[in-house]
Symmetry: C2
Subunit: 364 residues, 2 copies
């Protein structure tokens, strides 16, 4: 049996920021919570999807809302457990394991916190393989599984059990409640059977985040760049190398939308790169041509340290490497593209997989 | 055993518009629903508070949001029952009776609909003795009883079970959900025991609404004015007789706020009356001096027919009688005044009971 220890959280948090594709929020508070819980309750068994029986019950645990708010409106620590237990009570059944709904950002750490508090194992999987901003944007959702029954809890002790007729309604009702609660809540959602997780989950994403994080932190120690190793591990591509010349950001309807302009250096000297984001990085254009687009992952990393830079931390003058990584194949189905492809985010672009764009570039 | 029949709904609906003090919404759709349910399921037993044992469970059923929306976004009819049953399931207990949370407006009829559908009796009581716009504004709330657990359902089939740490949070979370659901929902809330209802309920308000309605409809048949009889029945006062010269209305944060200016006729010739409202009529001034104020009831009635006119139906040129009626004594406690007195609605006025204002006027 494999276990997650405190040290793993350092790796997972930084790896999850890479898989967050610019979004998902800074895992900082979540990492502290998970490490403290492991210190108190002991290390957390990390189980594989295939270790589950088809009938076992798995409940994802997550934070909803604006992760930055958690720095000022600290969780009381009891909400994830309260949300989890309330869902168990509603289902009339005890869960066999906790899981992550998204591999990127703070929601990599929250479920480990929850698992430690509950004394349950965590499954090495998630339902995005990255971060996305809305509840229906999961492989479970694309497969037609309902997000509800779900439970939303806040740090004051308020609790909502939500049952909806569609995952879009789950998003609407949980989002408005979360905003009313002060922009952050803890949720339990998308309960699945072992069979459903085997059929629709994205496997191995906790290990992957941990491995990416380990590569980055070891490279720090050796004062080397981790980027080539990360590209090999994730089948990724170096999209651009440059210096940030401009960042535009605006907050609309609860999302951070914006764009960043990067001027090429080294091998990209003379070229330019534009990237647009809505919480997560959505589309990158090199010299006006698409280089990568959602649902593939686009992540900006510090050129020196290889540390991932989330959209809220992009700043003028940063020297960066932009990398792209292929998304889980599930997102590349018609249903997946309809839910999270470029047209969903109002881009007049047909989705082209990153490896095809890279190939075209090489041939071009 | 007394029963409510279809004909009673005609009386109750019009009487509830008088007790609505300008608010509570037009009972029209609620009346149609309740009459249809009685036609289908049979008449509804009307029981007295003292018929209940201390241990029995009573669940109020209500509509939340903007009653006018129900004319376009019709209920599917199943929501009140769904909300009621979901609360019973959560409590693990069957209810013995349904009740009204407010005596005024559409929520006089919705619980009768619910009782008919469920085959349960309705208690001759409510928790306001009038209409008020927010969930904490009940005698139950003032007595310290929690509004939650409560259930909110919409006509699409979405359902929320809400548990909060205060009734203000119940208001916030149920209100935001109701707005997201399209401005109208059906709720079950403030479940009470027979003992709690005996201690804190406002008794006899369904009978009172029915009696007021009967007086008005019989006066129509005889082409007489019902107003004197209503004043006798409710210990009320004629505050002003005049013609509406101006109506101001604006919609802010989901409430209709505004004022009406009335120019005196007959015995009030040469005088003027100003009234301000927020959903319900809040304060009336005759010649600049307060004549009545919340939580006492102020209702505008058509001078000819005695029909009550809700705030949304006030119009230039209407000849009206403004009447005032004392509120339930529960509202006149310090806790009651803190919750619904003039200062709660931002008026720089100490509450003075309507009968004292009337006496001062006579002496002045």
């Amino acid at each position: 049996m494999e276990y997650l220890e405190e040290r793993d959280l350092d790796y997972i948090a930084i790896g999850a920021a890479v898989l967050g594709a610019g979004g998902g929020g800074d895992p900082y508070v979540g990492k502290l919570m998970a490490k403290a819980a492991i210190r108190k309750h002991g290390k957390v068994p990390l189980i594989k999807v295939d270790d589950l029986t088809d009938e076992q019950l798995i409940i994802p645990s997550a934070m909803m809302g604006a992760p930055a708010v958690m720095l000022e409106k600290l969780p009381n620590g009891g909400e994830p457990e309260a949300a989890f237990r309330a869902l168990e009570t509603h289902l009339g059944k005890k869960a066999d394991a906790v899981m992550s709904i998204e591999a990127g950002g703070i929601n990599s750490c929250i479920p480990i916190y929850t698992a430690a508090c509950l004394g349950l194992p965590i499954v090495d999987a998630d339902s995005m393989g990255r971060a996305f901003p809305e509840l229906p944007m999961t492989t479970f959702g694309v497969a037609g599984l309902p997000a509800t029954p779900m439970v939303v809890c806040d740090e004051k002790g308020n609790k909502l059990l939500i049952e909806t007729v569609s995952n879009d309604w789950s998003e609407t009702l949980a989002r408005t409640a979360t905003i009313a609660m002060g922009l952050a809540s803890m949720i339990s959602i998308y309960c699945v059977t072992g069979k459903e997780l085997k059929d629709y989950g994205v496997r191995g994403t906790i290990s992957l985040a941990r491995e990416i994080g380990r590569i980055i932190l070891e490279a720090h120690a050796l004062k080397e760049s981790p980027i080539q190793s990360i590209l090999e591990l994730t089948n990724g591509f170096l999209l651009f190398e440059g210096k940030i010349m401009d960042v535009q950001r605006n907050l609309t309807s609860g999302f951070v939308r914006g764009s960043v302009m990067i001027e090429g250096i080294e091998s990209d000297k003379g070229s330019s790169f534009e990237m647009q984001f809505q919480n997560e990085n959505l589309v990158g254009w090199k010299n006006g041509k698409p280089a990568a687009m959602t649902p593939d992952l686009i992540t900006v990393m510090d050129r020196e340290t290889g540390n991932p830079i989330t959209t809220e931390n992009l700043k003028y003058g940063q020297r960066v490497m932009v990398i792209g990584m292929p998304c889980d194949p599930f997102w590349r189905t018609d249903a997946g593209i309809a839910q999270v492809g470029p047209r969903y985010f109002a881009y007049d672009l047909d989705y082209v997989p990153i490896e095809k764009l890279a190939q075209a570039k090489e041939q071009g």
